[in-house]
C-alpha cells in the first residue's frame, strides 16, 4: 500500500517538475509522457482484453504519419483499429508475433512512402506546437486516459470485457456476444496509442520511419514489465526507459536495447502480473 502511494506521488512529481526545468529536459519529459500514454493504451489491451500486442507502433506510427502529412487526417487515426484488430484472427498466442511482424513490415514500407517529394528515409515534417502547451495537453491526456480506463474497467461493460477475456465460451454461455467487446477494446487502445503518436510527432515536429521500429513496438511491453503491469508503475517504467537511455547513451550507445534485453528476461518472472488485478 505504502509503495503504491509512493509510486503515485513520484509520478505526480515527475509530471509537475519539468514545468520548472529547462527546455531540453522538458522535451525529454514530454517524450516520456507521450510514451507513457502509449504504454497505458497497450496495458488496457493486454490486461483487460488479454491481447498482448508487440506491434502497438502500428496505430502509434500510422497516426503520427497521418498527422505529419496533413493535420486534418488526425481525425482518421481511430481507424488504425482496423489495422491491428484483423490480426486477432491469429489467436491470442500468435497475435504478439503477428503484430510485431506487421509493424516491421510497416517500418520497411515507411522508408518508401513519398508524398509531394517528401518522406522516404528522412520522413516528414510535422506541425510543431509550443512545447509548454503540448506538455500541458499531454499531462491532461495521460490523466484522462487513466481515468477513462479505470472507469471502463470498473463498469458493467468492463465486467463483460473481462468475462470475454477470461473465458470466451463461458461468456457466450451467459449471453455475452464477444465480438463488439473485442472491437471496442481494440478501438479504445488504438485510439489512445494514436493520440500518443500524434503528440510524439507534434513534440519533435518530425516523423520518420523509426516510429515503426522495434524500439517503439516493444516499448510499452518493456515499460509494463518494469511496472509489473500496474498503471502507475508502468508510467514510471516509461520514464525509466526514456531517462535511463538518455543518461547512459553517451557512455553506452543504444543503451535502451540493454534495458529491453533485461526486461525480456524479467518478463518470464513477472508474467504473473498479467493474471493479477489492475491496481491504479
Amino acid at each position: 500500500m505504502l509503495v503504491s502511494i509512493a509510486i503515485r506521488i513520484l509520478v505526480l512529481v515527475l509530471l509537475i517538475l519539468p514545468v520548472f526545468l529547462d527546455c531540453y529536459t522538458k522535451l525529454l519529459a514530454a517524450s516520456a509522457l507521450t510514451l507513457a500514454i502509449f504504454t497505458v493504451s497497450w496495458l488496457y489491451l493486454e490486461k483487460d482484453l488479454g491481447w498482448a500486442s508487440l506491434g502497438h507502433s502500428i496505430p502509434f506510427g500510422v497516426s503520427a504519419y497521418l498527422f505529419a502529412i496533413n493535420p486534418l487526417l488526425l481525425f482518421f487515426s481511430p481507424l488504425t483499429t482496423f489495422l491491428l484488430f484483423p490480426l486477432s484472427i491469429f489467436g491470442k498466442h500468435t497475435f504478439p508475433f503477428a503484430s510485431f511482424v506487421f509493424s516491421v513490415f510497416l517500418w520497411y514500407l515507411a522508408h518508401h512512402i513519398v508524398f509531394e517529394g517528401k518522406g522516404g528515409e528522412e520522413g516528414f515534417r510535422a506541425p510543431s506546437i509550443n512545447l509548454d502547451l503540448i506538455y500541458l495537453i499531454s499531462v491532461t491526456i495521460l490523466i484522462l486516459s487513466c481515468l477513462l480506463i479505470w472507469k471502463i474497467s470498473n463498469s458493467y461493460f468492463g465486467l463483460k470485457v473481462k468475462a470475454v477475456r477470461d473465458d470466451e465460451i463461458a461468456a457466450k454461455a451467459i449471453g455475452i456476444n464477444s465480438l463488439p467487446f473485442k472491437v471496442f477494446g481494440f478501438a479504445i487502445s488504438c485510439s489512445l496509442a494514436s493520440i500518443a503518436g500524434i503528440l510524439h510527432a507534434a513534440i519533435f515536429g518530425h516523423v520518420s520511419p523509426g516510429v515503426f521500429s522495434p524500439y517503439f513496438s516493444l516499448f510499452p511491453f518493456v515499460a509494463a514489465t518494469i511496472g509489473q503491469g500496474k498503471i502507475w508503475s508502468s508510467i514510471l517504467g516509461s520514464y525509466t526507459v526514456v531517462f535511463l537511455s538518455w543518461f547512459l547513451s553517451p557512455y553506452v550507445p543504444e543503451f535502451h536495447y540493454a534495458i529491453y534485453a533485461v526486461a525480456l528476461i524479467l518478463a518470464s518472472y513477472t508474467q504473473s502480473y498479467a493474471r493479477s488485478d489492475r491496481s491504479v
Binding site: K162, A163, R165, D166, D167, I169, A170, A173
Partner: protein, 220 residues
C-alpha cells in the same frame, strides 16, 4: 402441439468421427434426463442446443422457430441457458461480479453460502464453490430452457439435496435438461422425459416408464 425445444436429425462429425448421428429429440417443460455412457455425445448435444457448437446437419427448433444458425448469446436472449461443466467461469471476477450477469438477489436466495464468499475471486474458489456460482447464475436467470451439464460435480451432499429440490420446483416453471452421472437414480425418478444416447446414436427417447429397463440395465 408444438414442443418447446426440438432437435431434428442432428448430426455432428469432427475429425471424420461421427459424434452425433441423426438424433431426433423433443423436449418439453419439466425435467428431461439425458443419459448415456461417457463419450456418448450428451455434452455435445447440450452444446449444440445452447449454440456453443454448430451441427454438421440437422435443425434446432424453439417453439417451431428454426434457431440452428443463432449464436449462443442470441439463444440466451431467446431463453436457452446452459450451465457448462468443468468450472467454466470468468476466473478474474469475484463471485458477486459473476452474479451480476443474472438476478443477484435470487442467486443469493438459492445459495446463501455464496454471500460469505461474495468478494472472493472465482480463481480462488474450490471446485464445489465454482459449481455453485455457475448453478446460481443459471437458475437466477429467467429462461425457457435450462441445460445443466453435470450439475452435481464437486458439490457437498447437502447442496446436492438442495439442487434436487430446486430442480423439482423449477421444473414446473421451465424445461430443464440434465446430463449427469451423479444422483442418477434420484434425477431419473423425478424426470418427465428420458433419452438415452450411446455412441452418438439415440437408443431411447420417451416417457420414464419405457426407458426404465434400458437405463437400469446399462447405467443405474
Amino acid at each position: 402441439m408444438v414442443k418447446l425445444l426440438e432437435a431434428v436429425e442432428i448430426s455432428l462429425t469432427m475429425n471424420s468421427k461421427k459424434i452425433l448421428d441423426s438424433v431426433n429429440l423433443c423436449f418439453d417443460r419439466g425435467i428431461n434426463l439425458i443419459a448415456g455412457p461417457n463419450g456418448s455425445g450428451k455434452t455435445t448435444l447440450l452444446k449444440i442446443l445452447a449454440g456453443l457448437l454448430r451441427p454438421s446437419s440437422g435443425k434446432i427448433l424453439l417453439d417451431g422457430l428454426d434457431i440452428t444458425m443463432k449464436k449462443a448469446h442470441e439463444r440466451v436472449k431467446l431463453g436457452i441457458i446452459m450451465a457448462p461443466e468443468r468450472m467454466k467461469l470468468p476466473l478474474s471476477l469475484t463471485v458477486d461480479e459473476n452474479l451480476r450477469f443474472c438476478d443477484r438477489n435470487r442467486a443469493y436466495e438459492y445459495f446463501p453460502e455464496l454471500k460469505k464468499i461474495s468478494e472472493k475471486k472465482a480463481r480462488d474458489l474450490s471446485g464445489g464453490e465454482r459449481q455453485m456460482v455457475i448453478l446460481a447464475r443459471a437458475f437466477a436467470k429467467n429462461s425457457k430452457y435450462l441445460l445443466l451439464d453435470e450439475p452435481f460435480q464437486g458439490l457437498h451432499e447437502k447442496i446436492k439435496e438442495r439442487i434436487i429440490k430446486l430442480l423439482e420446483e423449477e421444473g414446473r416453471k421451465r424445461g430443464i435438461l440434465v446430463v449427469t452421472h451423479d444422483e442418477l437414480e434420484k434425477i431419473f425418478s423425478m424426470s418427465d422425459y428420458i433419452c438415452v444416447l450411446t455412441n452418438g446414436k439415440l437408443l431411447y427417447a420417451g416417457e420414464k416408464e419405457g426407458g426404465e429397463k434400458i437405463l437400469k440395465k446399462f447405467f443405474i
